[in-house]
Symmetry: C2
Subunit: 465 residues, 2 copies
Amino acid sequence: MRALILAAGEGKRLYPLTKEKPKALVKVAGVPLVERVLYALKKVGIDEASIVVGCKGELIEKRIGESFSGMKIGYIKNHDWEKGNLYSLIAAKDRFRENFLLLMSDHLFDDRVISSLVAQELDSSIKLVIERRKGSEDDTGVLERNGRIEKIGKGLKESNCIDTGLFLCSPKFFSYAERAKRENKGEVADGVALAAEAEDAEIFDMAKIDAYVSGMRREVPPYWMDVDSKEEIKEAKRLLVENASKGASDFLAYYVHKPAENKIVYYLSETGITPNQVTIMVNVLAYFVTALFFTGHLLLASILIFLVGILDGLDGKLSRVKNQTTKLGSMEHSFDFLYECSWFIALALNLQIEGESLALTSRLSISPLVFSVFIILFVAFYRNCYDQFRKTAGKSLDDWGRFERVFRRIAGRRNLYNLPILAFVLLGMPIYSLVFVFFHSMLTMIVYGWRVCKHLREEDRKAAR
Amino acid sequence: MRALILAAGEGKRLYPLTKEKPKALVKVAGVPLVERVLYALKKVGIDEASIVVGCKGELIEKRIGESFSGMKIGYIKNHDWEKGNLYSLIAAKDRFRENFLLLMSDHLFDDRVISSLVAQELDSSIKLVIERRKGSEDDTGVLERNGRIEKIGKGLKESNCIDTGLFLCSPKFFSYAERAKRENKGEVADGVALAAEAEDAEIFDMAKIDAYVSGMRREVPPYWMDVDSKEEIKEAKRLLVENASKGASDFLAYYVHKPAENKIVYYLSETGITPNQVTIMVNVLAYFVTALFFTGHLLLASILIFLVGILDGLDGKLSRVKNQTTKLGSMEHSFDFLYECSWFIALALNLQIEGESLALTSRLSISPLVFSVFIILFVAFYRNCYDQFRKTAGKSLDDWGRFERVFRRIAGRRNLYNLPILAFVLLGMPIYSLVFVFFHSMLTMIVYGWRVCKHLREEDRKAAR
């Protein structure tokens, strides 16, 4: 399926951001609006898009070019862009002989909304995606009754949902657009109103989309947003950052990491720093901490691991906010594991060299290395269990059931291990940090191993019935 | 889509196996033929099948019941089963108003062949899957020219391909079947011949199916097989076992493990032992070996790890041969990792307690535990890299390119580590087995980390263009 993006607008209300560029090139979190639409289309599998340009259109052509991330891009000029977006649509009339996606370049769309719409049947000339809430005066309101569109229009008083600016269109819709033009109307919504009158328009309620995202360990409500003012740019940024946050598993993640990460990503997104660069910086810092542990600078190291913990969440979040998720980035967790383990080894080696050990009886004592070797084994095992479970069951173990949702709050993980490390270093008995993490990771390993086997066995039984 | 399975046959040539049951219930590697067809259909996503029964049909109904692994099963009686399978097809005439899959219960089918056929368009009354080779007298031969079926029939002399007994049918095909019946014919192939005459039949060449299977790390040619005699049952078993073998990575796997596993699975498949039971037995044995290492019975332990290595490959292979792959079974590798690491820890602890260490200078020596902690770290890291890469890139790293196909022969893995362990134990310097595995696993970690990052970066660049 091909897509048509209307990007002819000037964006007066965004002045002076739109002094030297069209609205479609205004950046939200470092990425121009029209590129955000293109990234979403790409993610959905659309491989060709036409962009209707008008005001300062040559700047869009120059920026995007004829190909964007493997998508073929064409341009259509609308000289009457000042008359309204209906004219942009009509300018594309001869290019579409089959059903197509119609999008506004100044709206942000969750790609799940687009992919759900693409999967829909089209039984009329146009299907518009609606959100079921009362809109503001700026929104195009829709009054829906029993699945039919009774009224549609900007600032419609009696509306019960909002036109999101995302449509599945048949070529037939152009005739309604032409009629609206003949009636001296200027908005796409006016064409929709005519189609609705002829009972030739449908709606798709975005609330129908499943909000759970396994990779995010939580429900992320599918979003859309109209970006018209500088306040809305900020709001959009906040929305993007919030949506890029994975489900927090523990109080530390919720009260410390998430807010800190969000704040940093909010500003970082405007810079040219890439997620991969962040990953490299975090790794450099992490191995510096390893060196500190090994050389006995335990207090400084135990404080810096908290910093690493916060910075470590930035790369993934930044990549999601800026549409820069890469395949290489998926390897980040493997490298995380490496530096995490290096800390335990470095700490154990340092204590070993210092001659420390845990005396059980006068004759038997356990060396720090024994704790670290088991910690690494346990951590590697439960991480592997966790990954394998998600792959096999299609859902994060953390979210499987009531028990899991409680256990995840205390399950062993890097950020939680930081607490006993700092605590026992402060108390002057660092070997107990290894002892503590040893038991914590062992508990986690046992619980994960048990739950994973239990749930998969149940799944197998269900499938066999 | 629904499926129709013809299972009315007696199976005379399989006597005495068919003395007390119909041909469809004859077992190949412990699983009745008709169940193999049902498992394949289930894997493809078919949720309803009708089985035409004739000779001793009540035994099939009793065995399969009204539901099989979540698939709804219906039965159709064919009292004229002795007249040929055309009569079985016609008996189902009133049950199919839409396109359906037609299968012979006494043929083994690779589920990939079925899924490829299901994805095909049907532009005529019937599409038959063919294999492009000269068949024997028992086969239904097809003479194909320019995509058209010129002739079809049992033992056809001038044939250039074989009818595999797998069809995509439209209800229209029943009229050809009826015509063939009126002409006193008895085989489905006779109906196909009439459809072909009317240019209303097509072929699908199974060679068109992509043979690469990422999970098997190799190309597994899609198969089908007609099982008519006791020799063919054995041949089918060999084929199933061979197809269940993953791509061997090293000479040990190729020359020792694979043949040994295949032989054991060949016999094991006839018993009631389940893959999960095998997994449990292997784990019990493995931890017995751990205890041997810890208590200093190094020679016995170093020999038994080879046995564990062979037995460890049985569960997966057995499950593939018997269609008993489970979600729980996917956790096997996590548990493998656990016992593998336990050996290194047990060996290191034993040596540590014995006071052994690797003296570098007169003042500096490295304790065995240091080696084991790094071995576990390296192994966990490269396994994680490997898994993550397959998930992200969709292909096994081992198969990515020329370098990988060479490196996999020497890459560190459990079975290869067994060799230096035994060697250095025999030489009376067991600590060197840890030193050797330390360097081997480190090399593997570095190479995997490097190649994975390199390839994913290239993929990202390609995608961005």
